[in-house]
Amino acid sequence: MERPVILDCRGVWKLYGQNPREFLTRHNGAPSDQDLADNRIIGAVRDASVKIRKGEIFVIMGLSGSGKSTLVRCLSRLVEPTAGEIRFEGSDLLSMSDEELIHVRRKKMGMVFQHFALLPHLTVLQNAAFPLDVQGVDRRTREEKARQMIEIVGLTGREDYYPRQLSGGQQQRVGIARSLVADPDLWFLDEPFSALDPLIRREMQDEFLRLQSMLHKTIVFITHDFEEAIRLADRIAVMKDGRIEQTATPEELVLRPATPYVEEFTRHIPRAKVMKLRSVMSPGVPEASYAGELAGSLTVDAAIEQIDGAAHPFKVVDEEGTAIGTIDARAAIDVMIGRISA
């Protein structure tokens, strides 16, 4: 069952240079690399189409200069796309008036920034309450809500600190609290953990997954870190030179990379960290003795210890708890060491 599309972006272009709009129509909306170079126009985003579904974590992955940040700014209309169509909850985002856009941003969107973008003159509490302050919510109500958010992100006790008195990880927790305080449906995160140390990054990723399991937002997450993408994403769009190379689940990306570029990325990713039990199990559940049940959404990596330690195979079950297949130690180890027959 497909979930409804929240944000639908079709054929979006963002070009920088002289008269980009006119340039695009001149080349029938599809200029080649050569056309761009000849006219000294930079194609930051080229013909990007993505559909973001309710409740999913959609990761846009690309190296620096790939256009991922520009694309997310087009999606939030911080940057005006040169061409294309973006529909948010069915209405046309690009034709919205300033007033409508302000309304949408206030009520329905939240964004977390790479360098936190906290206001230096406000305390943690005031920063977290800032979106409500802008909306004109009275002080008591907004500070109460901000306190709740601060508690959720685990910063209770630091409400009166100023951003510069906090570590990077703590600052980003404030950024997260601020982006969520107005209870948005759509949550943009622009490389939220890239400026943090690796250990803290890992901790913040767990924290992020924990938050999402509570809040069930629709998420657009930008990263340049493929492992981060795989760890967090329901679906990933890989970008290169402004184009989307492939949009797929982590498993599909690893198993069936669409282009050499994507394959280059996936080559070094341990299969076991990506492959779900669901896709490596033997389908059908014959009568036999089983060591227990494992969820099909677990990765092999997460389940390997249990499977390997047991004398019998495991049943694999879907979300409703129905057994859909079996997995034994041999199949799991095949994946671990890269001996994939599938």
């Binding site: 964004m111 973008a117 406000l122 802008v134």
Partner: protein, 677 residues
Amino acid sequence: MSEGLVTQVKPATVPGGLLTASRVFWIGLFAVTWVLSTWSFALYKALDARWIIRFPKAYELPLEGWISDAINWLVDDLSFGLFTFRDVTRFISALIEAPYDFVRDLLIDGLMLGQGQQAVEILAPLSWIAIIAIMVGLALYARDRTLALLVGGCFSYLAVFGQWESAMITLSSVLIAVPLGVAGGLALGIAAYRSHKFESMLRPVLDLMQTVPVFAYLVPILVLFGFGPVAALIATVIYAMPPMVRISTVALQTVPEEVIEAGHMVGCRPRQLMWKVLIPSAMPMLMVGVNQVIMLTLNMVIIASMIGAGGLGYDVLAALRRLDIGGGIEAGLAIVVMAIALDRLSQAFSVSQVRAHPDPKLLFYRRYPRFSTVAAIVVATTLAGMFVPAIQEYPEKFTITTGTFWNSAMEWINVNFFDAIEAVKTLLFNVLLLPVKRFFAGIPWAWGIVAVALAAGRVGGWRLGTMAGVMTAFIAASGLWREAMTTIYLCSVSVLIASLLGIPLGIWAGQSARANSVIGVLIDTLQTLPSFVYLIPVVMLFRVGDFSAIVAVVLYALAPAVRFAAHGIRSIDGELIEAGKVSGCTERQILWRIKLPLAAPSLLLGLNQTIMLAISMLVITALVGTRDLGQEVYIALTKANTGQGIVAGLAVAFIAIISDRVVTALARSSQEKLGLK
């Protein structure tokens, strides 16, 4: 075989080549100029062509007359139907006069009700104790006890040494001019930030305002607004505003893009974005601008005493005019003291610490103990002052005057060191001043225009060359060639000396933390002093003339040479120095082969600033009798001749602009060469 190698390497890329194209150009240009300068007089005699050394009178631009006529027309005839231009200037005067009078009453005269003889004092002015208490309270709020002690000490000094009333007049000018300058600067800065078109229109205006010497715009203001504190305030605001405009624009532009995006994403309206996001984020830098406005205001308030500002500046000016050494130094020191107090106080505000919110459950005076104490002192002294005059005004019999001390000190120096001072003066005059003066004075105007255009073109391309040529031609065509050459001579000698002193000091400060702490304090103090103050000791020691002017200019213009040199040395990547050490460089080699070449762009920027300060100070040294463009402006001021003042002022501005563009172009190309940009 070696030939083959040589031909592969183009001569221009060999740094050691003796006759590169650029060396040939510069040596040639200098040689031609020198020859023409030396023989121009002989040439004029031989050919009987006076036009060689003198721009022909018949072709001089009648700009002076036009400007004067235009101003007269503005003042006398221009009418907008319902009201005249005169009414507009009167209206502006009234707008500024009202708050100024109020502040003055508050600080000095007391609030009066009624007019003239029948006036009744309804509120006594703030007592000296109250004002010191307010200042100390502000210092405690902004930083700590050390600062409070400094500020309190400075203001007590003003009371004890009998400078209180003049100081309060100056302070009330500052209190009016600073908010006007800050608000106006911020408003223009915001407009420039919002509209690129406006910014590009504003930039040349600001350039001109910062390079036209201050005396030059005193003249039209004097004509438009008359002699008095209001005219002085207007001049002050105009003078102090440009840096605030620039700093506001830059401060807003340097707010990180992400922070602005965050503002958009939470749904700020444009106004909310400006006042809740942009301005608070830019606040630390804006406060630097406020500090600048305060210092420039103080500087200008003193210069503006020439058109009626009164206060400490007037005291200095009057003392200078009657050669009253003691009085001059006393008032000058009072200015210094006040400048230091205001500077440190406003700097403390710009880096002020985060404050905890007071617990709202406490009583008011427990929540804000300092504010309450200060308020109590103000009320108590005002009340007590009605009965005890010593509380209201610092008792005169306890004031200490240092005038006689300074007089005898100066006398002592003059008696004991006159010969030594004279010897140094004569030596420098013969070795440096005279040859340079002769060189510049001899350059025929026609060649001067060509040479400036060629040099500027070589450095910054044909556009800069043309601009420089046209500006130089303007100077010649205004009949100011000789004065301009005197200005350039004074300026180049001063800048040379300032660089020779300042750059080594800066290098030293950049390399040693201990030297830096001493030199830093020295430079900070030098930069805090209003330009006027430099004249006092200089005149006392060296009397009037070029030499005195040069000494004053050197002192005033030293700071940037030191600052930029130290900054340039300090900001070199530590790895490069380590690389030098690992390659076995000695300390000296590291300095000459690594640090200095890398600091070159910084040194050039320092040079640029030094030249700018030197030019602005040169105009003020007209008071000690130089015969340059500054004197021309000063004469115009005393005669209230708008045309003369503006034309000479423009000439100074053009010199400043040409040198600014040329040196900036040099700095840019050296930065590019080093890959720093």
